[in-house]
Amino acid sequence: MKIGIIYTAGFMAMIGLVCFAFANTTTPGTHLIGQWQEVSWTYEKLDYMDEHSSVISSEIDRQMKHEISEDLVIHEAEIWEFSPEGGVKLHSSKGNERHMNWRLKGRGNILKFIDEKNPAEHYQIKVLTEDKLEIHFSTDIGARGVVKMTFNKIGEQYAEKI
């Protein structure tokens, strides 16, 4: 009898802890919905650092960014617009627009882009808050390393203007 009470209490405590974790939190998908403006491209990690690169910041210049993203679906996209239905619009500064679908994987830490014409692409979400999005992905172009893309959430009016 006593062991039954202890087990039930333990079980309830574990369920309670999980419920506590879920209560008053929003899912990563909810945070993601909206428009995000790209603010920076940097190397999060570099494969090597030569004596000259120590003075160079980890910022990725426009040319390198172009080379890295050339074959990716996110190429030249500066505003990412996620809809709750699972669609995403990628706006470039030249006014081009690309439509595809997005999904979250893992525990909400993997962003998957599904484009009918291209193989699916996966990006790792490192930070996702109400107003900040940080995405990492590996690249072999130039200096092999992990690219860190940072976005800020923008208002809808701004996105419409663009």
Binding site: L17, V18, A21, F22, T27, P28, K105, R107, N109, H122
Partner: protein, 241 residues
């Protein structure tokens, strides 16, 4: 493989059980990483992630990972609970029942992916939960019936044991110890089988996609069926004698 319990088990029983279940664990883990980007045969990494998410204040993710760990725990709990309670009635049934539960979990995941999966985050989290529960059952069962000699779903302990064993084998007295040699045989066969399962799942997945789940179920059915067949043979032989 399933009919004997604890110290009554022969080395070959443990090796056969270890090999077949490790292949299925390796397959399940690789499919889950490929499909859902989450490990399902081991929880060590999930503990680290849980701690990281709590530290970052990501309570939703912490809740998800915490639930996954609990499901692995309940899987193991359930397997051993069945073993110790049903063993008095029928040893084979006690050992086969957890595997049946594991098959059901994997069939649910496979058929859900086949017919309903829309790749939403909630679906992904639930599927991973089912797979962790299934792997908890498998690990709990194999460890329970083999007196902790066979653990097939995670290789941290196994790699540690192998490191210790091989360092012991540098000395002749330990090399001559049959018990240690047997242990090494089990561990090496589990390690190789897990890798074979993982690699083959990676290849097979490209060809048959979610059907890999059904292949894993076939492996588990083979384990159940093999022992059932052996039991039938033994009882037939007894009747004739």
């Amino acid at each position: 493989m399933l009919k004997r319990f604890s110290n009554d088990r022969a080395l070959s029983d443990n090796i056969k059980l270890g090999v077949l279940t490790a292949i299925s664990a390796g397959m399940v883990n690789v499919i889950s990483v490929t499909l859902f980007f989450a490990f399902t045969s081991n929880v060590t990494g999930h503990y680290a992630i849980l701690a990281e998410e709590i530290a970052k204040g990501n309570w939703y993710q912490a809740g998800v990972v915490g639930t996954w760990i609990l499901l692995f725990f309940f899987g193991s709990f359930m397997a051993n609970f069945i073993v110790i309670n049903v063993n008095r009635i029928n040893a084979y049934l006690a050992h086969a029942l957890p595997l049946v539960l594991e098959i059901i979990c994997l069939l649910i995941v496979g058929s859900y992916i086949q017919f309903f999966y829309k790749e939403t985050l909630l679906e992904t989290e639930v599927m991973v939960g089912f797979m962790l529960f299934a792997m908890g059952i498998q690990n709990g069962l194999t460890a329970s019936i083999s007196n902790f000699a066979v653990k097939t779903t995670h290789l941290t302990g196994l790699t540690t044991d192998l490191g210790i064993l091989f360092s012991m084998f540098t000395q002749h007295e330990f090399r001559a110890n049959q018990q240690l040699r047997d242990k090494a045989k089990i561990q090496v066969s589990i390690m190789v089988s897990y890798m074979v399962g993982g690699i083959s799942a990676g290849y097979i997945y490209l060809q048959v996609s979610y059907n890999v789940f059904y292949i894993v179920c076939l492996f588990l059915l083979f384990i159940i069926g093999y022992d059932y067949y052996q039991l039938r043979l033994t009882s037939l032989a007894k009747k004739r004698a």
